[in-house]
Structure formats: C-alpha cells, structure tokens
Symmetry: C2
C-alpha cells in the first residue's frame, strides 16, 4: 500500500465538488495526491484543503497527462462529455457524477454496497448514479435478493441542494419572479413536480433516471417501475416514499433485519418514540436511513418504506469516493 | 327562497372557522343569519363579518335552542363529540368538520361534486371529509365511473395550515427544540412522515383516514388503497402524488376530458409551458387542480396524477359551505 496515486477532482469548486473535498479531508488518505480542476470562474483561486493551500486549476484539453491514476468528475454533463474521453485516453480511470455515461452498456453504474464487482468491469469509466437512485437501491437490494421485487412506485421529496448552489439561493432568499436563479417557480413555500426536463411521454428526465438506473443497478432490465419526482423546500437531504410489490411473502421482522444488516443502511423506525428518518437528522451522514417500514395491505406482498439520505454525500460525493477506495484497494 | 335560515358556526375563531367566515362573506347569502360560537378564549371578542360587528359567543350546553336550522362545526373532535348531539337533538342539521362521525354508517360523508345525493340521507349530521381525501376523490370519481379503479397508492405533501395556527407558527418562526408548538420535530427544512397519531399497524391515523374515507365516498368499501402522508414545509395547499391502477384501459386524451369536464376540477397540465399545479398558484382557489397526467407504464392500466388544492378552502371550509348551500336549496 506504499504506492502513491494521483487523483484529479474535476468541478472541485461546485457544490458536489466541495463535498468531495470535505469527505476526502475526513478520510485523509495518505497515499493520494490531488489536483483540483475548476471552471474558468474559480481558476486561480486558493482553497485550504488538507491543511494546505491548493489552487484551482482551469480545466483544458491538455490538463490530463498520463500521470493521473483516477479522476472524479462532478462538473456536469457538458464537461464530462468533452473531458472524460480525454482523461481515459491518457489511462486515467474516471468516476463520473454526470448522467452522460450512466446508461452506456459498457459503463458500470455502481453503488458500492449493492453491485461492487461491477467496478472492476470498467473500461475506463465508472458512472456514479443519480442521487435519488442511490438512496433507493440500498434498501431495495437486500429485499430484492430475498423476496424478488415485482414492481416499484416512487414518490420523491428532493432537496434544493440537488439543483446546485443556485437552487439553495432560490430557497434561502425566498426568490420570486425575476430573481429566481434556478427554478421555474418559487421553491419557497412550494413543491414543484418538475426535476430536470420533461420528455415526450410526460415524465421528467429525473423520473426516467430513477427508473432506468434502478433497473441497471439491480440488474433487472425489465423491472416495472414508475416514479414521480418532486422538489421540496428543504435545503439538503432527499426523502422518498417507496412502495414495493414483491413476488414472495415476507415477515416485517425479517425485512427490518435484512435492512439493518445491510452495509450503509441505518434503520430509524420506532414509532413509540416518534423515530423515523428526517432530513435535519440525516444531514451530514453517509448512510441511507430507512423508516416507516410497514405492510401495504392493498396487495398480497406489498411494503412501504420512507427513505432519507444526504444527497450531496451518499447521493454523490461519498458514493464516488467509496468507488475510488475500492479501485485503490484492488489496484 | 324568501325563507330565512339561522346558521351557527362553531369554532369560528380558528383557522378553518375564519376561512368559513371569509367564504361566507364572498358568497354573501341574503337569507341567512349567523351566530358565531368560539371557545372561552375568544368569547366576547369582536369581529367584523359581513360589514357588521359580530361578537364571538362562548359555546355551552345551552347554546343550541330550537331556532338553529344548520350548524357548521370546525372546533375539533372533542367539541364535536360533546356538542353535535346537543345541536341535532334541537333539530339543527350539523355539517361536521371533525373526524368523529365520518365513518359512522348512519352519517353521510360528502364531497358535493362526488356524492351529492348522500346529503339528503342525513339523520342530523353530515360529515365533511379529511382535507387530503377531498382533493383526491374529485379526480378519482369520474375516472372510477369510467375505468373502474382497482388500486390506489397515495403519497402526500401536506401543508402546515392543516395542523392549525400553531403549525403555521412552527414553520414561519423556524421553531426548534422547546419552541416547537405543534410538531415533534422542526417542520422548517424537513419533511415529516407523521400526520396525526401512529396506529398499531404502523400507519398514521391520517393515512387510515385517506384509505377509509376514499372507500366510503366512492362507495367501494373494499377498494385496495395504501397511503403515505407527509407534512412538508409549505404554509398552505396540499399536494398529492396519486398512482392509480384501473380495471379497464383508457386513452390519456379521454382522461383529460373527463377531468376537465368534472365540476370543481381545473386541469393544469401543459408541460411545454411548464404548467402543472403548485401550491402558490392554487392558494385561495376553491377548485382541485390536476396535472402531470401520464401513464404508469409499470402496469397495464396505470395512471399518475399530481393533485393540488387549498386545504383550508376546498379541503375544509368550501366543502362544508357547498353542503350547506345544497341543504338550503333543497329545503
């Protein structure tokens, strides 16, 4: 483990990028050196990282020489589309946070607790799933293994941090009319059933991502899923109402045990003590919190779950860094 | 129509009560005189209503003499339990906003657009349904008549005004810890999957209300329904993600027409123009707004709807006054 690795963080000045840096400081890997790339806007600015002064470097077509082992991209789809192929051509393995490569059959889409072995099938790119998908598939995986999921109905309650810094500003400044920076309507005092763009069938891209990515990660390409994705006036941490139909019967006690014993999940479910997951308590944690575990009596083998996770951490930065760790451990 | 009616408003100083008064002013019925009852706290206080000074009267066991034709009760379950029987004994017909009598087989549970004829089967009490149920059954009714509903999955996004004045204060003052007046956790910056109390099967009473009342109003006592009821940091207007399975196939165009032509519904669904129902636009209206009308591709005959309504108006006060109007018109 004395080998040294050189890792690029692309988009390191953005909301997810900053969370990546924060978690890298917490982890404090001794055998990695970092280069922080940013857009023109932030380039040249100093940042204290790991107790030292780092300078954001502008990303350009010559940024990637053959010295980089790994890169985490969190600068959005356009940057990934252009620069990920440049990086991989130079032998750099990329963990990409954008949706660009997620559904490419040659690109593994990985949640390390769920499908870790996919990581090593990479051909240069590993895709980090959508935040709302990551927190859903963690509880779904052990339940699918045991009871075989037949159908899922998702309804989400997604925080504004998922829309970046301008999303947070719209909520905090109670933006209205012309002052709105991110959303088509005020998110303050509203729930907006509109995340990412609308597609021809009436679904948003966010809803399609949840459907497609869940299928790919669970390796059930035809799993029936529907989804309604909603932005709510909460700064950070997505919540999800997940309704699941299974092929086999289950015992609620066993469901709790399966969830409790699965890595990365914390079961927060004690109604006598008003214990269930909520954003303010989950904020800053790396686990996916599951509560309100109860039977759906409207079908033979139905289950309802309430799932909350920090969308900037486990939904983005933490998941990417877990992938990086696995790559390094197995290199 | 020259007959004069005497109507009591019980709980007229509360959040729903004030909304009742506001709508009565808008309607300005010429043939009704009102008596405003309140709790001890507000009794004796003056209020300007219909251009005149009214005084809140304290409700007591002798308040109801035989002069009252109708009463609207919106003072909560305890008051209804005690005083509704006293009022009906004196020949007063009561429209009750509490949950006390809703599931009583002798009490009609009425949404005037959905099951108006039930009103005239009353034996002294007509129950006003739960706010989250009222806005759901409006779009469900014409679709059930045409395509026969097989199953419903509800996930709600409910405003704090549904929890009364203290609910609004908790959100507006960003209450925390000991300063919380209504909710077990801060509602500011949180979604709380906890409305009303928990029951033994892991559901909240609010979730049971939605299930039971939907069945009663649609007159389908065994309709399979599941529900997750969530409080969100929005002052007023509930939103709902409704997933419906039908027995028969449908055409989306026909679904829109059926909804559009049903009284009390406004279809707000034009994705090219980012048109879908949101709380800030629905606030102050009496209709139920329906959008995001799209197929659920995970089952043969599935439909997703996004439904928003003003929970203080159509979800409570407006619905009660519509019942009153029908009673008077047919008296």
């Amino acid at each position: 483990m004395r080998k040294k690795y050189k890792v690029a963080i692309v988009g390191s000045s953005g909301l997810v990028g900053r969370t990546v840096l924060k978690i890298l400081e917490e982890k404090n890997f001794l055998n990695i050196t970092y280069t922080l790339f940013s857009s023109k806007n932030s380039a040249g600015k100093k940042i204290n990282f790991l107790g030292e002064d780092y300078i954001f470097c502008e990303l350009n077509e010559n940024s990637f020489d053959s010295s980089f082992d790994y890169a985490i991209f969190c600068a959005g789809g356009e940057v990934s589309k252009k620069y990920v192929p440049i990086a991989t051509k130079k032998g750099c393995i990329v963990i990409d946070n954008s949706s660009t490569f997620r559904m490419d059959p040659n690109v593994p889409l990985v949640v390390p607790e769920v499908n870790p072995n996919e990581i090593f099938k990479n051909k240069g790119i590993i895709a980090n799933p959508n935040c709302s998908t990551i927190q859903a598939v963690l509880p779904l995986k052990p339940l699918d293994d045991q009871y075989h999921i037949k159908r899922i109905v998702y309804s989400t309650y997604q925080a504004v941090s998922g829309a970046g810094r301008f999303g947070i500003e719209d909520l905090e400044k109670k933006s209205y009319g012309d002052t709105l920076k991110k959303f088509p309507y005020p998110i303050y005092n509203n729930c907006l059933p509109h995340i990412d763009v609308f597609t021809e069938d009436g679904y948003t891209k966010e809803e399609h991502k949840m459907i497609d990515e869940t299928r790919k990660i669970l390796n059930k390409p035809n799993l029936p899923i529907t989804s309604t994705a909603v932005r709510v006036p909460v700064i950070n941490c997505h919540s999800e109402s997940i309704n699941i139909e299974f092929e086999k019967d289950f015992d609620l006690y066993d469901v709790r045990l399966l969830l409790q014993n699965f890595p990365g999940i914390i079961v927060a479910d004690n109604l006598e003590k008003n214990l269930y997951p909520i954003a303010s308590k989950v904020n800053g944690n790396d686990e996916v919190f599951v509560g309100r575990i109860r039977r759906d009596f409207s079908i033979p083998y139905g289950l309802n779950l309430w799932v909350v996770s920090d969308n900037l951490r486990k939904g983005a930065a933490t998941n990417a860094i877990q992938i990086l760790e696995k790559l390094i451990k197995n290199s």
